[in-house]
Amino acid sequence: MSGRDDLVMAPASPGAWQPPPEREWLAGHVIRPPVLAWQTGTLLSARLIGCDETAARALPGVATVLRRGDFLGIAADTAPQALQAAHALRARWQAPPKAAASGLPLARRIVAEHGDAAQAMADAAGRSAQDYPWPLAGLQAAGCSAMAEWRDGALRVWLPSRRPGALRAELAALLGIGEDRITLICWQAPGHDEDPLYAHHAAADAALLAHSAGRVVRVRVEAHELGATQAVVNTHIESAWTRDGEIAAYAVNTAVDARGSAAVMHAPPLALWLTRTTAPVTEIEPQASAGGDTRDDAILPPYRFDSLSVTQADLPGQPRVESTPAQAARAHVFAHESHLDEVAAASAQDPVALRLRHLDDTRGAGLVRRVAAQANWQPRGERPQAQQNVRRGRGFAYASTIEAGLADGGQPVHSWSAWVAEVEVDATTGEVSVTGVTLGHDSDAGEQGGVDAVALQQEAARAAQQLTVDGSRSDSWPAANLPAVHDASLPALATAQLPEVRVGGALRPASATLGTSAAVTLPAAPAVANAIFDATGVRLREPPFSGERIRLALAAQANPESTPKRGAARKRNWLLAGATAAAGLFVTAMPWRAPIAPVAPPGAGFYSAATIERGRLVAAAGDCAVCHTAPNGARNAGGLALDTPFGTIYSTNITPDVETGIGNWSYAAFERAMRQGIHRDGRHLYPAFPYTAFAKTSDGDLQALYAYLMAAEPVRAKAPETALAFPYNLRPLMAGWNLLFHSPKPFEADPARSAQWNRGAYLAEGLGHCSACHSPRNALGAEQGGRRYLGGGEAEGWEAPALGKLSHAPVPWTEQALFSYLRTGYAPHHGAAAGPMAPVIEELALLPEEDVRAIAHYVASFGDAQPDAALASAQARQLEQRSADAARTLGGPAARLYQNACAVCHQSDQGIRQFGIKPSLALNTNLHGDKPDNLIRVLLDGIPTPGTSDLGYMPAFGESLDDRQLTQLVHYLRKRFAPDKPAWDNVDDTLARLRAAPAHRPNHQPNH
């Protein structure tokens, strides 16, 4: 606890200091200068020249837009709204003065040296040389969020850091208020995606925005947006051992590159720099008194070696590794203890015995023995053949450090810690769980203070668990997450089981401060890494020990020849299927399928609310209602006409009406329809119903979907019969089609990809059936895969643009842009969802945000390398400028048509703000594509039902403009907004064709 009574260390006093409920938070977003660099403690950044605050303020949900100096921030009701407003701001920046060259030479200093390392290396029976990189910026998230509330002239700030330093004074200066009006609540962040090193930056941003909005604002900053480069302590260790396994020579060379990040960690909050507030001269609190860090003597191995050399490289003119001593100590302990384990494995020794062999320090050796005994450590013989899916292992690590005496007495404090970690590794997923830890700690600090053993155990458990957390925050695949809304709020409490922690040996305070935990957990990382090696034979020399990396390493172990190649196996299967089919299409196919007996519909209340809710989300992900609802018809009662190259197909009634719907379908019948495309009565369904995709749905999701559909209100509505022309009216032919083109296999995760990617793939390839519209189909109406997957297709007379590498989008799609588009129906650099995509957006709005993010992540993975946001914005500006230039040289009647009919809603630089958005045509994919279809379609029919009403509406011009005018306008738009593309040569034909096939109008009115 601090001496200040207004600095609260939550959750010491829970309740009173809890932040306001989540629904009151505004999402803060700060637009960072595109150029941001730290040089010798000073910030070099681009200058803000101008921005369009009015446009941003006008957007829905925007609570405040704050511009002060180079600081530009927004607070809005939701994160997407804030992001949209940030785009609308169109901030313009001026490059900063050139930074001085920073190619400074390395200075190497010798920390310790004795013996003849070269000779020992030369005589050795075995040698090893390895690098152990340790990311300084933190393992999980290089970022941090903080919250601030401005109310009644007082500021309350919640930040996940125990080291606020001079933050109070800095905030006071920033807001021009007295320090007495600021309460800092040092919120112990639950979960681990907060890196307290950046907390003060986030806190200052949140404070500024909260002050401006008079509300609660939450801001998350990422290290990279603060100009922090990934800082790494790289420790290189070479060792040599004799025939009997004694380590004869040990050479350590460590270097740290912390230029950007150390500056960011220790600089006053970025907001102070950007707003050009003069920072108060306040000392940052001495680190050891607040955090209990150890001095970086861990660079010296705590073992006796006959020959030893330790050197450290520094870049002059930047903070040395001492500025992050605790992290550096962890890095070095990790390197030493991992290396000793490697030597033990290479020379076939027990790792504990090897350490004891080189430990002269009797007190340390005593601790090692006690902990090993407590853990019942057994020298391990042969590793048992790994048969089971779960592999277990144990690892040992030891640390001995001397903490600089910043505590009361001023005496350095020597402390010892030893760990035995036990892990379980799931060989399929690579997931690691630390199941147990035995630890011991000893120190020569006084007996005063005592140690809170329980708190320490928790800390140790968390430290161990933290090492194995995957970077991805996606939920477990493929079970759909239940309705619990999980959005970008404070991270939820880690749900995984914390390992059991047993205390072996002594447990003594390292000092009177909080420092014990830092010293105690020093061996955590190497102990876990060594245990993973023991379990799997996979050596991880860099944290975090994520499931993904272990899975890949295991896969490489199992199959050293080839790393898994996506799609290769699938292609072989396809060829095989093709060959079989060609040989005996109608022999092997089963054209007639048995009906499944009708059943009585389940009674009301048969399914739990939770199941039905899950089914509702599954239905949303599957867009059922999009096709199964006629315009103005009852939901899911069918009757929508779908134009296909083979004729018009009418969607069916999927409400639980017994006579006209699926009320008498058993689950077995339902599942067969979803996975194989067979009607309950045995009829083949046409693949306009995307059972080819739905087959991938998990059982749980399918059951929930069935529950949801059966629990709905039955609607009696007979959909029109689908009557295709010969030969497509012969439904049994579909059996052959299925044999050729359909694989009713459930979704299989790709182990080489992240959980988020797989979740996205599951949703996009399965329920979401993106490729049903966005992939081209062959002459028989089957989706094409491989390179043509998502390569653009057709839907209800609209061109479904290509996604991924084949996209015509003038500004490449980013994952973030895809997310914004899928979530809000609009991406500023691309445009708004229309046509058949609009109802998809409506359905996606029902899904949890994480799922939509996963889909965006998956789709983005098909594109080229992601351009960063600044680059995309620059490209967008360039395109806008180019079309503005082109406009000057174009004239004539079409130019006047554009100015009269289009400009009011499409020229964001002209006129006044209008209801809805003003989508830029210069950035619109449809104007850059090979076909004018969508442009003509939208001109003829307008956008009567956008994804959300916030986007605004477009009137239809088909009735008011004649063919000549429309043709002129289409050519004009192409020339003005895509001047680098050739003129379309088929405009007249397309116009005639699309006029003849008007967009869908209600053709089925429910009569009830």
Binding site: A58, E713, A901, Q910, G911, I912, R913, F915, S960, P1006
Partner: protein, 168 residues
């Protein structure tokens, strides 16, 4: 089931329940004029081009002839009819009267409503900014200069009114 719920519209601080027969795709303008007798907004081109039908939706200018009524069911709509308070014309209306800024007057609904939206965002616009704001309000009459002056005068009146409120 699934009988469409009757739409509710909040127009000029009054909430109206529409007849169930009203098609949700009906342009807002038709409902305002034909069902709610708000005849301030005018039917000009019917394509959102001329601005004669302008109303404010949540304070933002909107061309009511191209917005379906379903889109604005949960929003606050203000028409010219709702600008006056306590029988007194709004300062923007007063300024148009003072400057005699009408010839035939058909476009004036759009001019006044657009000016209202402009002044809410920019209380002290330059002449160039006024011209820019009104560029998509089409009109064939001879009072463009008067309209410009009216908007400038409205800005002054609004600031005065705000000052009085502040003093009171």
């Amino acid at each position: 089931m699934n009988t469409p719920r009757p739409l509710c519209l909040r127009v000029n601080r009054t909430t109206y329940q529409l007849d169930a027969e009203v098609d949700p795709d009906t342009p807002l303008l038709y409902v305002l004029r034909n069902d709610l007798a708000c005849n301030g907004p005018k039917y000009g081109c019917g394509l959102g081009q001329c601005g004669a039908c302008t109303v404010l939706v949540d304070g933002v200018a909107a061309r009511s002839c191209v917005i379906p009524v379903k889109a604005v069911a949960q929003r606050a709509i203000t028409t010219l009819d709702g600008l006056a308070t306590g029988g007194q014309p709004d300062p923007v209306q007063q300024a148009f009267i003072d400057e005699q800024a009408a010839q035939c007057g058909y476009c004036l609904n759009g001019m006044i409503m657009t000016a209202k939206a402009l002044l809410a965002e920019n209380p002290d616009p330059s002449e160039a900014q006024i011209r820019e704001a009104l560029r998509f309000n089409l009109c064939r009459c001879g009072t463009h200069v008067e309209i410009l002056r009216a908007v400038q005068r409205a800005a002054v009146l609004l600031r005065q009114a705000a000052g009085q409120d502040g003093a009171a």
